[in-house]
């Protein structure tokens, strides 16, 4: 039976500096796959590399070839083996299968449940396919990976719950506004927190960004960075009529927006919805503003509370997802085991014998004028036809020779004769 090996490093085992050194760009991946393809010891290979992980999944022709791959990484990335070997994890067979299932289902992500990872893995798989470096085993494994990841996303709530402050804020914003791309944001304060928050909003693409800061220069700088506009800090109340989301993170000791100010601004904006996200400590936004109709205020504690309850929920969902994955690993192993010569020949034999048995029985039962001798002769004949028919295919499978890929022919045989136990596709 072929082995499936996975070697990699991720955010749990390697610091970011190391991950940066280990990561492959798209062109580098293609070049590396080409080299692996030429290697006689590696039958199939796949590389996926994101900012949080670099992993090589491969099928060795013989042995495990772990040292060879580690050396390969070292050569490719121009980095000393001693520098990264301790950060590597090496998974074999079931563990490798389980790991790739978990990664794709976003259980292994830095932010568990984030949806991008599946797309990134699909991209890497596409690269491998177009380079013809993946074969029967990896193709099937990756297809199973995608279906299990889809199932986890669909049937567990793992992706539902926001567990970081900015993500929770975005989720809330999406439940307040129907289309964030039509909404404008104002930042009060131009500090690091504001910058972080905006980065997330940018990925959600808002219409416009305004920055107001006590030191106008900083506001201008930040606004330039995000293609927004700077406004004077004193203009903040006036600006309320043009924006929909306010993210506040100033170091002020007093409220920078009061209920009265917002109430007045509400009239000017025809009572269109306003969403205040107050990440400053002490708070910038008067919490009483939440009482104004169509205005929502969330401070840092409110967001933290939401995250906490989401964390608990997510743990429960993770258990469910793990169960799905275990089932899928078992199924995949079963398929892998069946992909050997002896079971395939046996399955082929069984199938043809049962066909002979059924057809022979059907024919004989309607021919009652035959003598016992005739019946025996017919039986012998049908069996002979059957065994002669599968004789050559079996011979072929027995001597697939070393220049060919056993798995490919075994897989084709199983498909041609429909030997696999039908399994439910999810």
């Amino acid at each position: 039976m072929s082995q499936i090996i996975l070697i990699g490093a991720n955010h749990k085992t390697a610091p970011v500096e190391l991950r940066e050194k280990l990561s492959f760009s798209n062109e580098e991946t293609i070049a590396a796959l080409d080299l692996l393809k030429q290697d006689k010891d590696i039958k199939e290979s796949l590389i996926f590399s994101t900012c949080n992980r670099t992993e090589i999944l491969y099928i060795p022709a013989s042995g495990k070839q772990v040292d060879k791959i580690i050396e390969f990484i070292s050569l490719q990335r121009d980095i000393d083996i001693s520098e990264f070997k301790s950060s590597l994890y090496i998974y074999k067979n079931d563990d490798a299968i389980r790991h790739i299932f978990q990664v794709a289902s976003s259980l292994d992500s830095m932010m568990v449940g984030e949806p991008q990872i599946l797309g990134q893995i699909k991209e890497s798989y596409r690269t491998a396919v177009s380079n013809k470096s993946s074969g029967v085993l990896l193709n099937r494994l990756m297809h199973k990976t995608f279906s299990i990841a889809k199932k986890v996303r669909k049937e567990t709530g793992i992706g539902d719950n926001a567990v970081s402050i900015s993500y929770a804020a975005i989720k809330l914003a999406n439940k307040i506004f129907s289309n964030l791309s039509q909404k404008s944001v104002m930042l009060l304060g131009a500090g690091e927190m504001a910058e972080l928050a905006v980065e997330h909003l940018i990925s959600n693409r808002v219409k416009n960004i305004l920055v107001a800061n006590r030191t106008f220069k900083n506001a201008v700088n930040l606004a330039q960075k995000f293609n927004g506009q700077a406004v004077k800090f004193e203009e903040r109340q006036d600006a309320l009529k043009d924006v929909d989301i306010i993210i506040s993170s100033t170091g002020a000791t007093d409220y920078v927006l009061t209920k009265k100010e917002v109430k007045q601004a509400m009239k000017k904006r025809h009572h269109n919805t306003l969403f205040f996200i107050d990440i400053a400590v002490p708070r910038d936004i008067d919490p009483k503003i939440n009482k104004i109709s169509n205005a929502y205020v969330y401070d840092i504690d409110d967001l933290k509370n939401i995250i906490e309850s989401n964390m608990n929920q997510r743990e429960k969902e993770t258990v469910k997802a793990q169960r799905f994955i275990e089932e899928a690993v078992l199924k995949f192993r079963k398929w892998l085991e069946s992909l050997a010569i002896v079971p395939t020949i046996k399955a082929l034999n069984d199938k043809i014998s049962s066909i002979v048995e059924i057809e022979y029985g059907k024919t004989i039962s309607s021919l009652d004028h035959l003598s016992q001798q005739d019946i025996d002769a017919i039986k012998r004949m049908t069996q002979a036809i059957a065994s002669r028919t599968i004789h050559d295919p079996i011979l072929f499978l027995r001597n697939t020779g070393d220049h060919r890929d056993d798995n490919l022919y075994l897989n084709i045989s199983r498909q041609l004769f429909n030997l696999d136990i039908p399994e439910k596709e999810d």
Binding site: L172, N174, K175, I176, F177, M266, K267, H271, N290, N294
Partner: protein
């Protein structure tokens, strides 16, 4: 074709309304799209059957089925179904089906339970203006019922967000902005239809009784309802009554519609009374 056929088809369609409600409830709890889709198909089939039943009835006795309370409610339900399909198609607001199917099922249950009041041939009930009046008013009120539904959903979602406790409805409902704009669209559609419906009613009254206005209790309450919605729209456009206030008003407005529909006729009489006997 006879009345039994019409009745039977109506009963089947009622059963389908109930089934779709059950399907929508499953969807509400487990959020699987397949339930929503199935329920939408079931409810569409129910509406088609409902229509067939009314056509058979009309052909058989040569009068539209609006002669007693049971039939009036049935027509109201039919228009609600049509309006729901229209707005479902327009906004793809899946959760609205939960509200619509509950209201439809409840109405159809009453339709099935109510005894058939004797129907007298009524020669007054004919003509273009009457049919326009009936269709427009029922369609308008159906849209306003959906506005009430969107209002209820709005209040549920808004309450969760304001209280900072995203609960059961948080992920099941869309954004408050969307709910508000769905409510607003239903409201304006309903108001426009109702306005034209009332006008055709006046024209019809003029044609039959020779006067536009007869101080009939139903007339008074209908115009009252119309004024409330007009006020709400005015407040929304000029005083920013959107969101919560608007949602509450649409709910109150719809309660008044129900009263006008049932209460006025039953308690106060008037020339609309026979329809709700």
């Amino acid at each position: 074709m006879n009345l039994q056929t019409a009745d039977m088809v109506l009963q089947i369609s009622a059963m389908l309304y109930f089934t779709s409600m059950a399907g929508y409830f499953l969807f509400l709890f487990n959020q699987k799209q397949v339930w929503q889709k199935t329920s939408l198909y079931v409810i569409s089939t129910a509406i088609v059957l409902h229509f067939i039943s009314m056509v058979v009835y009309t052909i058989t006795i040569r009068q539209i089925p609006i002669q007693n309370l049971s039939q009036s409610l049935s027509i109201a339900a039919f228009f609600l179904g049509c309006m729901f399909l229209f707005f479902q198609y327009k906004f793809d607001l899946k959760i609205l089906g939960v509200f619509a199917s509950i209201l439809l099922s409840a109405t159809m249950l009453v339709v099935l339970i109510l005894p058939d009041a004797p129907i007298e041939k009524n020669s007054v009930l004919k003509g273009f203006w009457l049919y326009s009046h009936i269709i427009l008013v029922f369609a308008g009120e159906a849209a306003l019922a959906l506005a009430c539904g969107a209002g209820i959903l709005y209040l549920l979602q808004e309450k969760g967000i304001k209280a900072k406790k995203p609960g059961f409805f948080f992920k099941r409902l869309p954004s408050v902005d969307l709910l508000d704009s769905v409510g607003y669209t239903c409201l304006t559609t309903g108001f426009a239809l109702l306005t034209i419906g009332l006008i055709t009613g006046f024209i019809y009254a003029k044609a039959i009784w020779g006067r536009f206005w007869g101080w009939d209790p139903k007339e008074i309450f209908s115009v009252g309802t119309w004024l409330i919605y007009a006020a709400l729209l005015h407040l929304r456009l000029y005083s920013g009554w959107r969101g919560r206030k608007s949602a509450i008003m649409t709910i109150i407005g719809f309660l008044i519609i129900i009263f006008t529909f049932l209460g006025v006729n039953i308690l106060l009489g008037g020339h609309h009374q026979p329809f709700t006997k």
